[in-house]
Every structure is written in structure tokens, then in C-alpha cells.
Symmetry: C2
Subunit: 278 residues, 2 copies
């Protein structure tokens, strides 16, 4: 049992038979949007914590891992990622990393729930630093509908930064959405999607990969990385390219980018490309 | 709070302000040795769980990550690892991985607490599969004293597979022990030590690296890897060599070894060598 000497926030990972808890100092905000319930807590040791429908979304302390690994491997795998779309990503941490790449000319973020972004602006301002970048466009809309209305071949990169495949995000894990992404990408375009835990969700990862394969993507890679606040602490992103094969990252390109990262680097990227699902 | 519909084992990570819990079905064993208290539980989803003095040591489900990453990078970094010493490692999972390398001629394991190994034989038999290998020697003794009595330059590889740096393992994180390891290693020898979480224990990792540097090791690398059952789910091993520099792993050597791994491979090894402490 958890000691009574602290206030705790706990997420139970029901299928996994595990739970993760944080010592909480204050319940900072509670919002009920049209889509979900959002809570913000101040933790004692992990900065602020965002929780949606009882599931941990991010903490100040460890979100850099997820945001760096959802973005940089895909961006550095594309020769010229100019037109980027983020589906979900309401906390804006993914947008921030995307816009750190000078080649990006335009990045649209389509988050279904505006309340997530409003709360991120208040409680995770460091993730929203680039929301006013002239290359950024924040839309609050349904990602499934948005992608259907895009012209064919109009994007270089699509990043699916979603919640778990239940509730509003369920459709983002379906084959129809992935086929729509394939259509919206130009030749050589890349789709990358958060794909849960290599240890706990091998079946889901297989499904994500199957969808990509059926949609016609030519190479598919699942990249593992640590993510303490998510079930098992080991997470993944699966990326797929429309034509061609993923190449190993070029250290010179990373060096020339001037990017400051805390986890990502080209060697880590290489290692992640070799992730086995156990 | 944790729901009452299950029985839980919980470890609170006091300094980190976090906690990790598993759904437990049965308390299989409880032992009080001369050194510590050991409990074994059957979890619902993670196989068996060993707990020492309230700290999670390993589960059936995820120990492969730690055991593979504590051993294979070091073994594949040495041109001919024949004489190996394990300090700690009472669950025998490290020994099993070491003996998977055909070049190893002798591996001594010096665990202070025989009870740990006896319980591992009962509840983690898959980790003890190679305990009867003619190359294995199991001693139950103090690792600090053992290393002092070894002839200078008599080992190729020392693996420190210890509990946290409190209680019996405290001395294993001190400079005197690391200097003794340096003395006991032959030229080109490697010391590798579990070194806690890159996210939570940056100061401890710096101390481990300082000890190695002061002892005269010529190259020092901290390798990160996922380890769900330990605090933050992101863990590390720090390895140091006596003379020379660590080279990148050779894929052909791994292929020729015939090793079957679930996490380790030469690309993952390369990526881990590039771990940044954030």
C-alpha cells in the first residue's frame, strides 16, 4: 500500500497489473471538456502532471523523452521535411520539437480538444514556446476529418501524437485513418505514430504495423525509448515511409541543425531503429 | 489510491516521489537472512517478483532487459573475455548471460547472501539454468574481501550486479572497491557496474564515473536501457576499461556468437553507448 504520509496520484494499468504513483502537492486544475476530463497536479518531484480521464499524459520532468523521440527520428529521416501535420499533440511539446528544425516551413497541429492546449499554455509554458512561430498553425478539430479533406500528396510528415487507443483517439489506430495518411503524404513522406509499450502492447504494435503495411507504406520501423510516466516506462513510436527505405541518420546533419537535445542523438536514433519487440 | 479489488505490492521510491505497484496473487516465500529480508510473490501479470528489504529486485517478465544490458555490451567490448567475476548477482541471471558466451572459460559469482540464490533456484529456475555449467563457480562471500585477495591482473571482466547503494552493497559504490577492481583486472580488462537511473540518479552516476576515473580506467561509458521494475523504468550500467578505448560493437561477432537475445543487439549496444545523462 502507499503510505499515508503523502498525497498520491495513481494510475492503474489495468491490463498490465501494474500501477504508477506520484507524490502530489496540489490539484491545480480540473476541466471537463466536450471530449474528456483533464486534471493538472503539481507533483513534489516531477513538476506538473497532466492527467486525462485518469491516464497520465505528461510530466514536466520526463516529457522530453517522448517529444524528442516522436519527432527527431522522423524529421531526420526525411530529406526535406517542409510540410508537417501533427494530429493530437495538444500539449504542444511535439510542435516545439518540430519547429526546432529550420527546414520546416509549415506545421499544422490538429488537436480535437482546445482545453488541452489552453491548460498546457498555463501549466507547461515551456512546451508552448513556439506556438506563436509564424510557421505554426493551431487548429482545434477532428484529426480524422481533417486528413480526409487534405489534397493528395500535400504533406512531407504526419505525426500522430495521440492518447491511448480508447476514447477520442480510437480511430487514429484504425486502418482507414492510416490509409488517409498515406494518401495525404507526398512520395517519400513519413508517418510516425506513438505506439505504446514494447513490453506490454506487442499486439497493438503489430496492428499499427499491419495498418501501415496494408496502406502501402514501403518501410516500417518501431523505435523504443524510455518514458517513465507511461506504463512499463518503456514506450515506442512506429514510423513508416511512402516509398524507399529508412536510412541510418547522418551525424553531420544533426550537428549542422544546431538542435539541443537531452535524449535524442544520431547514435540513439540508430539504436532505436533496431528495437526488437520482445 | 490503489483500488481495493486487488492485492498490491508497492515500492515507494522515496527520493523520487514516485511508486510502482504490481497486482499480487500470492506471497510465495519470506526469508530473513543474516543480511536482509527477502520476499517472493507471484504477480498476476509479471510472473514472480523478488523483493529485498522492500525494494524490487526482479520480475520474471522484465529481467531480461537488465541482465542482457549488464553483460553483453561489456563481453562484446572485450576481445577475449575468458576470466569473469560477478560481484552480487545472486539471482544468477547475469551468470546465465555470461556463460552464453563460448569464449568465457571461467566465471566466479561472489554473492554475499546464499539465501538469494536458493530462492532464485526455486522461483526463477530459468535464470539458474547454467549454474551447473562446469565453467561456473558459485561462492557465497563478501565481494569487497574477495576482490582484495585476487592476484593482480587476473581477470578480464568484473560485473558488479548489486542492489542499491545502501545496506550490504554500499561499499561496492566506494572508490576503494573500484580501485581494487582496477588492480585485479588484466590490461584491457573491463569493469561494468549497475549504476541506477539516468533520470533520477545523475549524481550517483557521476560518483561511479569519478571512482572509475580516479582508479585509472582509461575510458568510461554509461549505457541506458529500459527496466520497468526499477524506479523511473530507465536504468543504466557504467563500464570502464583498463587501457584503450571502447570500440563500436562488431555485428559479425554477435552473429557468430549464436546468442539469442530479446533486447540486446549490436545496434542497440551502439545506441546505449551514446546515452546522455539529461
Amino acid at each position: 500500500m502507499l503510505s499515508n504520509s503523502h498525497k498520491w496520484f495513481t494510475e492503474e494499468h489495468k491490463d498490465a497489473g501494474s500501477a504508477w504513483s506520484l507524490v502530489i502537492e496540489e490539484h491545480l486544475a480540473h476541466a471537463k471538456s466536450d471530449f474528456q476530463t483533464i486534471d493538472i497536479y503539481r507533483s513534489r518531484d516531477w513538476g506538473n502532471l497532466m492527467v486525462i480521464d485518469g491516464f497520465v499524459m505528461l510530466t514536466t520532468r520526463d516529457n522530453f523523452l517522448y517529444h524528442e523521440m516522436l519527432t527527431h527520428p522522423a524529421l531526420f529521416s526525411h530529406p526535406a521535411p517542409k510540410r508537417v501535420l501533427i494530429i493530437g499533440g495538444g500539449d504542444c511539446g511535439t510542435l516545439k520539437e518540430v519547429l526546432a528544425h529550420a527546414e520546416v516551413e509549415h506545421c499544422t497541429q490538429v488537436e480535437i480538444d482546445e482545453e488541452v492546449t489552453r491548460l498546457a499554455e498555463r501549466f507547461f509554458p515551456e512546451l508552448c514556446e513556439r506556438n506563436d512561430d509564424p510557421r505554426a498553425e493551431l487548429k482545434f478539430d477532428d484529426g480524422l476529418a481533417h486528413i480526409q479533406n487534405l489534397p493528395e500528396g500535400s504533406l512531407d510528415l504526419i505525426i500522430v501524437d495521440s492518447t491511448d487507443p480508447i476514447g477520442p483517439a480510437e480511430g487514429l489506430f484504425g486502418p482507414a485513418f492510416v490509409a488517409d495518411c498515406h494518401r495525404a503524404l507526398a512520395d517519400g513522406g513519413i508517418l510516425v505514430q506513438q505506439s505504446e509499450s514494447p513490453l506490454l502492447h506487442a499486439e497493438l504494435i503489430a496492428g499499427v504495423r499491419d495498418n501501415m503495411s496494408q496502406a502501402g507504406f514501403s518501410d516500417i520501423r518501431t523505435l523504443g525509448f524510455p518514458q517513465p510516466c507511461y506504463p512499463s516506462g518503456w514506450w515506442s513510436a512506429t514510423m513508416a515511409c511512402k516509398g524507399g527505405q529508412f536510412e541510418l541518420p547522418a551525424p553531420a546533419r544533426f550537428a549542422a541543425s544546431g538542435l539541443k537535445t537531452r535524449y535524442y542523438n544520431p547514435e540513439v536514433h540508430r539504436g532505436a531503429l533496431a528495437t526488437q519487440i520482445p
